[in-house]
Symmetry: C2
Subunit: 385 residues, 2 copies
């Protein structure tokens, strides 16, 4: 009855976890929610003064596109507003780019581990994956990278505070990757939602800003820095890609809701966004420290991790013997939601990982949640706890 | 370089027309814009009181889903809130339903003529079309309908003030269609954006409310009755379809922007939406009368049309000799934008039609625009004008 792609709609495990995570009394390390305390609560303009009720342009509000282009140029990306496409959140960018490049059997080079929801969308459209291992300490395996881009039609990377590993590619790695993509003239889709949530100094410039020849798609989001509920993200793309992506956007939802665009424009026009983020960083640093301390206190002997320099996640490796799916189920029963790491691998998962979000729970809840997680772990490895 | 589906992305003619239609001094009969005078301009709540900034549920805000289900039950659709999926505008519903049913070679039964943007999306995903001729006076060709649903995996209909023909299916036709769909157990996608813009009495109940066995998808929109810029629509679906559609929604944009959902909830909760629409109808009736008068005055001898009982369009038939693509180009040069009818046919276009929107231009502009259109027509048929 349905199209074949529906068989590739991955299981609802993640949705089940996130649904469970919203239950009363649950402490959630599972999702990627920003801290509610630092979300942007806009001062609404007078509704009569706002012209955002009629149909708008598929590309986005012209003034907002100008501001996004100006921001991208500050990151070294040579672009004009004509290359900007405003999105209904950055998940939509993955859908549009998948529609542009991916059909049954298309090879897509992805990090291993990679952002779960991107794997889901590429897979929905029929992708086969060429995984590039990314080490939490050393970063991407460059030999694997070269092999992958030789096969792939599209390369999808999240080089800045990678989800889930937290790894941030160095300047040298970015230059190296750009050179290899240029040599192969291979299109890059660089997803960069966490750039502004950088806790130990600014992140290196995007890979897209280093390309001289290969087609590129740079994606950003206002969900992490302002408010996810507004559903606002953007693409800045190589001039050859803006026309088909705009037509795909029009076919997907005509255009992005204009009220969100107006509210975010307000935040961009006079540096308020940068100040808003600056004010939010201390809270995120505190929560990162709280999770590091809780990990040391509760699972210091059973797990390994690196403190991420940005983003919203710890990527925690347990011993090979730990069944993280079972751990997740036991933890849920004890009132803490976590994301099992195997969901982030397009191929076989190499070890027992959990992804733990540190931005949403309070420091006290982080400690309580980690204690519950330890109790769940003890059900599997009583000798170690 | 791109996926094969990109070859099926139809030409940007329509986008070009709509872009031209927004030029200074242009009178547009081309788009489907509601009258700006009667758009909903919400009174914003205090931002601090609104809880819509964090990530939300893919299905939509629970309270809004309840209200939409209650509305659907008033139309005779047996449903609960669990069957409601809130959309980022109803264009998104077409994208999601196409993803669910349509792959390369899938037969889709569509009206002929049919809503342009639906044809585009189904085509993008690889559909072949089984057209069902819809006569502006007599409605759908039922023999063709039976043949089409025997072949098709999905049937897409806009039975209420059909876009572009304006035809409204009778009670008897709806019952007949429902019986044939039930007999074939053939899924129906009923798109119903114009139901509330009914100028001569209420429209008959949806076909979905008459089905007993066949799977169904009912789609509505707040774009025509409140404000397109909010990008808010909804699906109400057979219980067997809500899970895959919700997962496709999550993959498309995670969820619909929550601020729009909150604002529309305000309008739904105490009958304000119904009053808002009631207040808008006289303006639409005036404009409909203005376009009918302008047609009679300017092209009464060269064209045929029926006054639509609802919706936003006149579907105007010119003589076979009129080249409507050339007419469109000449009309644009003279300052009036129109939509050539052939874009609404999945197969060969049977005659020279234009679709003329009457809701957006003022009555004075409607007359001026029609005079310009007549001048453009005179370039092709000087003897007749």
């Amino acid at each position: 009855m349905f199209a074949q792609r529906i068989e590739r709609l991955t299981s609802s495990l993640v949705r089940d976890i996130l649904a469970a995570a919203s239950r009363e009394g649950m402490i959630s390390f599972a999702g990627g929610l920003p801290a509610t305390e630092v979300l942007y609560r806009p001062a609404f303009p007078d509704a009569a003064d706002v012209d955002c009720w009629q149909y708008g342009q598929s590309e986005g509000e012209p003034a907002l596109r100008e501001m996004i282009a100006a921001q991208a140029r500050q990151l070294g990306i040579d672009c004009t507003a004509q290359q900007v496409l405003v999105l209904s959140g950055s998940q939509q960018g993955i859908d549009l780019v998948a529609k542009l490049f991916v059909e049954a059997g298309t090879e897509v080079a992805v990090e291993s581990p990679a952002y779960l929801a991107a794997l889901q969308v590429f897979s929905l459209f029929g992708a086969d994956f060429s995984p590039v291992p990314v080490d939490t300490v050393g970063g991407p395996d460059m030999a694997a990278f070269s092999q992958a881009i030789a096969r792939a039609r599209l390369t999808y990377l999240t080089p800045t505070f990678q989800n889930p590993s937290g790894y941030c590619y160095t300047d040298a790695q970015r230059d190296d990757i750009a050179a290899r993509l240029d040599a192969a003239n291979a299109p890059l889709f660089e997803d960069d939602p966490y750039r502004d949530l950088s806790y130990d100094g600014a992140a290196p410039r995007p890979i897209c800003s280093r390309l001289r020849r290969a087609p590129w798609i740079y994606q950003g989001s206002f969900s992490k820095t302002l408010a996810p509920g507004l559903r606002l993200g953007f693409l800045v793309v190589h001039p050859s890609l803006i026309d088909p992506l705009t037509r795909l956007k029009q076919a997907a939802d005509l255009h992005t809701n204009r009220l969100s665009q107006v509210l975010v424009m307000e935040m961009l026009c006079d540096g308020r966004l940068a100040r808003h983020v600056e004010n939010a960083l201390p809270l995120y640093r505190d929560r990162r420290a709280a999770m590091d301390a809780a990990l040391q206190r509760h699972v210091g002997r059973q797990a390994r991790w690196h403190v991420p320099a940005g983003g919203l996640f710890f990527w925690v490796q347990f011993g090979q013997g730990v069944d993280t799916r079972r751990l997740m189920a036991d933890a849920l029963a004890l009132g803490v939601a976590v994301m099992p790491g195997d969901a982030f691998f397009s191929g076989e998962a190499p070890a027992s990982y959990l992804r733990l979000n540190f931005s949403h729970a309070s420091p006290a809840d982080i400690d309580t949640g980690m204690a519950r997680l330890t109790s769940a772990l003890a059900l599997q490895t009583p000798a170690l706890v």
